[in-house]
Chain length 214, copies 2
DNA sequence: CCTACCGATCGGTAGG
DNA sequence: CCTACCGATCGGTAGG
């Protein structure tokens, strides 16, 4: 048995580099992270890192592409699992929210990428994500005919805003929660339910029962 | 008459530095902007810049504080101008949206600051903005009693999410609009109205008339 | 994947 | 507000 640090087989160098780079870029930004820091985190020398990625820019693009690819892989499954109707909607929105909540760095990474590299993210959104959001907005428009969905919804714009809202809310959640009133300093639990409510009430037609209550 | 570039009296050096720094930080981020670039933009040497601000970090903090101060100055006026009811609400939300739309860099700067310096922004939000958002959510809660506001609204969380949503939407608007279907490449007009609709329908109680239509 | 090394630029200081 | 200059670090290359 060889005398290396670990007995468990490691993932490939590229994967290990991407893992650490994603993490560091999300927390400190692309410009706020040096190749040296990435190399240290991975446990190799800086020039070795540049053997796997031709430049820092190439590393950035790989990180972003990988993120979108992961999403592109997850989204069809979510859409397949949850179709029409309020219940299914809840599942889908919940899945979107959970996708980012379970790893808030994802949300911060996307937000940073959108600010630092708008053209690249635009291209990836268009190529990889738009087909799915079109499918979703078509489904919403069908829901209008059956009376479940509000007539005044702009389906495409609504989907866009919801994605932006969820990512933004998760990315800066720990900051904006400073606006909530609690005397105890830290970590007020994040008002997830209100976000779900905003999404739901802006999409579904009010029932007569609901209106009578008011 | 002296032989300088301009006859119009210039604002103080500090103001000119803050102007350019705000602009550059918003577009390229704090770590993506060098003191040299700021100095060039202002038209002075780098050490002169450091005479006015003790360090790059001090410059960053001044930029952020100035932004919040500007907001703190604007917000009371907005609140005074627009009180209760759907009309007044429209004014207020519109004013918030316009505040960032007229200068999208403001939105990008806040977003970047929240990502790069969460503790600082949290502190400033709490100290400078929270009193006003409390006032606003109290007003919303009063609207519940009169039946104008939905019973299920979590006023504080709603206000927080709306602020976060508006800033996020403006900051990354040019990117997320890539999800909209238009074949022509550039600048699909940003779906502002749908954002307003999301805000309104998630806040106001549905009228019986509205429900009958569905 | 490493050692050795590059020019350029970084934030910041000394001294006037 | 300037000139002159600092050590540290940046992304990246040569060569193995």
């Amino acid at each position: 048995m060889v005398d290396k640090r670990s007995a468990t087989p490691q993932p490939s160098a590229k994967v290990r580099i991407l893992d650490k780079a994603r993490q560091l870029f999300a927390e400190h930004g692309f410009d706020g992270t040096s190749l040296q820091q990435v190399a240290d985190a991975v446990g190799m020398r800086k020039p070795s890192l540049l053997y796997h990625f031709r430049s820092k820019e190439a590393l950035r693009e790989s990180v972003i592409e990988e993120l979108l690819a992961h999403w592109q892989e997850t989204l069809p499954r979510l859409l397949a699992e949850s179709r029409y109707g309020p219940d299914r909607f809840a599942n889908l929105f919940d899945a979107l929210l959970s996708f980012f909540e379970e790893e808030p760095r994802r949300a911060r990474l996307v937000t940073r990428a959108a600010l630092d590299h708008p053209e690249l993210v635009r291209r990836l959104l268009r190529e990889q994500l738009r087909p799915w959001t079109i499918l979703l907005s078509d489904t919403i428009n069908m829901g209008k005919a059956s009376g479940q969905i509000r007539e005044d919804v702009d389906a495409e714009a609504w989907v866009m805003h919801m994605i932006s809202m969820v990512i933004g809310a998760v990315a800066v959640g720990p900051v904006s929660s400073a606006l909530l009133t609690r005397e105890d300093e830290e970590a007020v639990d994040w008002p997830r339910e209100e976000l779900v409510r905003i999404a739901r009430t802006s999409l579904f037609a009010p029932t007569p029962l609901e209106a009578d209550d008011g």
